[in-house]
Amino acid sequence: MAFWSGLKELFTFQAPVEQAGEQETPPGQLGQKEKKDQPKEKTRAEKETELLPLSPSPEMPSREPKSRFRLPVRAAAWPKFHAPKTKTEIAQKKIAASLEVNITRLKEIFHLPQNRDIVFRDFSIGTNPPVTAALIFVDGLTDRNLQNSHVLEPLMFLSRLRLDPGPTLLETIMTRLLPGNQAETTDDLNTVVDAILDGSTAILIDFCPKAIFVETKGWEHRTVSRPTAELVIRGPQEGFTETLRVNTALIRRSFHSPDLVTEFIKIGRLSRLNCAVMYVNGLTDPKLAAEVKNRLNHLATDYVGESGVLEQFIEDNTFGFVPQILTTERPDRVVAGLTEGQVALLLEGNPFALLVPATFFALFHTAEDAYIRWPYGTILRFIRLFGFFMATFLPGIYIAVIGYHHEMIPTDLLMSIAAARENVPFPSVVELLVMEFVFELIREAGIRIPGLIGPTLSIVGALILGQAAVAANIISPILIIVVAVTAIGSFAVPNYILNFSVRLLQFIYIFLGAIFGIWGLVVGIYIQLVLLSGIKSFGVPFLAPLATIKQATADVFIRGPVWKQEERPGFLKPQRKQRQPKVSRKWINQPKKGNSNASGK
């Protein structure tokens, strides 16, 4: 232990004390921010002195010769420098009654005049007497037509109409002058700032201690299009886009229930992206929803830009080699998950939704399984599982059998393998590793390659893999088949993340097979199973319903008939267990005249 800490000290930057004062005021801007609530008249010098108490230096005189070094800032102390906002401070940030003060404060917050993104538009509302007001918004995030015709026009021109005056100017504006469909008032400066950053337009009025913000979002975005990774033949053909509101709408469009709740939580202390937490009130396990929200609320990091990053932050077993959260870009998949009792997370600017908790078998399900009749769906699942096993174990089994268990190969096959290997100069292990590596190379290059020269890669890859390597006696043809089946099997795994884990495991099993034979594979599978059954995803055992929790409908390995799935998966602990009554096809119990061809329930 002492050794490690010594190493750590060696590699840690230690600043001399002389610069301590400057070192400890890096969050100068944040310091200014925090000063917002201070009276306006304070000078720059006063601000500097106020910053001092933040630094630990007062009790440690800066030019003390005997302690030339100070301890480095520990990770635990970082929040002190980076996030000075506390709840009380936020609460203090009220909007002042003076337009000038408000604008100055906002300009300070948004770092004007350096920051050219934020537009301050001064105008006057055409009441009698005219009142000065200002429009504040982020250029590019708003819809200018909407702003011109529905905010500025009524305020500037239509306000001259003879109107029945309301009790206050604010109320008149809200009720009569502002035709925007979403407009709210607030007296909290932070809310205004957040609204502006979300794409709303804020209206500040002189002598009014409240601000209005109108929803005028209108930025450039991709339209809803086909999902790229989760294509189905039968089923809806739309995937999520980068716009959060569109995504939530996509979900709600096929889930017409008032019980569907969408909560927003801001993620990332710097980026402050909206994350939608969706669940069904009265169905989803409240503990699960609470746990998800708890994790999101207590996520202390500056930037989470992608759902993949969020997934890594909130998953249970960070060293596990399987994805413990289901990622999907299909709204119908999310809706299906919500109705079973899962919680969906959607991050702003991200076309992937996260479904928690995920189980191992859910990673093999696709949306289409449910849309086609159950025998076909079941076969599809078997094929996928077979593909998974092939991709994970086939190279390992091949190398184990080729190296140790010659008696397992049918004689004729053994002869053709041996004949093909006669002229190959490398051991089988090297051969296999080289081919697997080359294949990984092709796969990786195929993703990174610019689209126009893509066909070149496939030609080169196919020629190298299929033709030249065999013709040159570097690789035996049987091995090409093994690698090809492995590759195809891995593509049959529907979950993109699981695909990576398969690719990784495959190499581990090659090593085990090459060193220990089948025995090594068995030990490897055993360890893998133990590890898998140890994982929990948001409180649900990862191998459920196979291990530990048994309640399940016929929707794990096989896809049972829809009428038979009366209960929701028990491991999700839904509040309403019953999905449908025992007899969901009610007409079959209706009295019939003569023939009764009713079968099933």
Binding site: Y404, E407, T411, S416, A420, P427, A471
Partner: protein, 419 residues
Amino acid sequence: MKRKFCLFSFILICLLFQTGCWGFREVDEEAFIMILGLDKGKENLLALTVQIAVPRGMGGGGMGQGGSAAGEQAKPTMTITVECRSILAGLNMLNATLERKPSLAHLKVIVVSEELARQGINAYLTQLLRYFEFRRSTFLVVSRGPAQKLIRQFQPVMENNPAKFAELFMGRQRYVGFIPFGQIHHFYNDLKLITVQPVAMLVSLKEKPPENLPAKEEQSSEGQFYAGQLPLKGGNNIELMGTAVFYQDRMVGVLNGEETLILNLLRGWLKQTLLTIPDPANPKYSISLRIKMERKPRLKVTLNQDRPKIYVRMFLDGEIVSAQSRINYGSPAKLSLLEGELNKLLAEKTQNLISKTQDEMQADIFGFGNKARRLVVTWPQWQKLNWPELYPQAQTSITVKIHLRRFGLLRNINPTGAP
């Protein structure tokens, strides 16, 4: 904690590597023996002949070999004979001329010459049975001539691989019945018991058929030949027909194809066979039947005044394929006539076979001894009973019950009009 974990996993990984047998061997580092031949040696005890598969000649190679070895196709096998004291010693000696490790993992057939078999093969077989590479599913055949000659001259016509010939041939015989079911595992199981004697298949290179072929009337069955004597022309240059009967590990006699068929029926090894018998109404014509076992035969052994009596009840299921005489055997009266005739015929053949094993060989190859165990209660009594001694004196009572069925599947048994 972390350090402990690291240490623990390090030790675990080290331990893991202690266990490996480090026996990784490429497939082209081994010489796979397909056929093993045992002969009586000149000087030594044993002349061991091994036939080794040559992958390049057998597998044909992949597409990569098209260019290099285009002209001459390698021979599919390589045969080596070595004089040695035992099989494993012989395998060791092989490495004087063989660059690859001889492996028994794909051994398909062991050929023992009749000469050696009559001497006893226990000493050689048990050694193999204890060797880890050896498979007990290997077939055991007894060659009428020297095994070495058989192996060297045998080249299957349709197969490139003699091992494949063996596998296909043995599988096929369950539908013909002219050779017994002879995997070494079964041979060894029978060898261990005194209540049943082992049998092996009989093989021979094709010889000239004997001059005095049975006259047409006498030829009641096509199975009355021994390997090597069939009136056949063309085909593979070996013949398998009949059984080598062993007493313990010594060969004591041979059965012909037809007797082997009955043996197969009695031991329950037969799936189905085609039987051609003379028409009971008109012996000039013959009737072809497809025979299956309805159930396994019921065997029973009783003892009266120190003389055992063996009861055999066989249950067969038959189906007429054709009747040359155009008699409609589907009619109830004719049917019982034919069934009775068949029962008589088969019972007679069975009786003859059992008598033959009793008189000529004194070997109970049917396993009646297993049923005789229940005559006594204790081990000393059983030893005193001495079944191998007792068997030749046994009386037999044989009942065959054949049921001819599925006449309905034949539209009309006499297509060109009844006589």
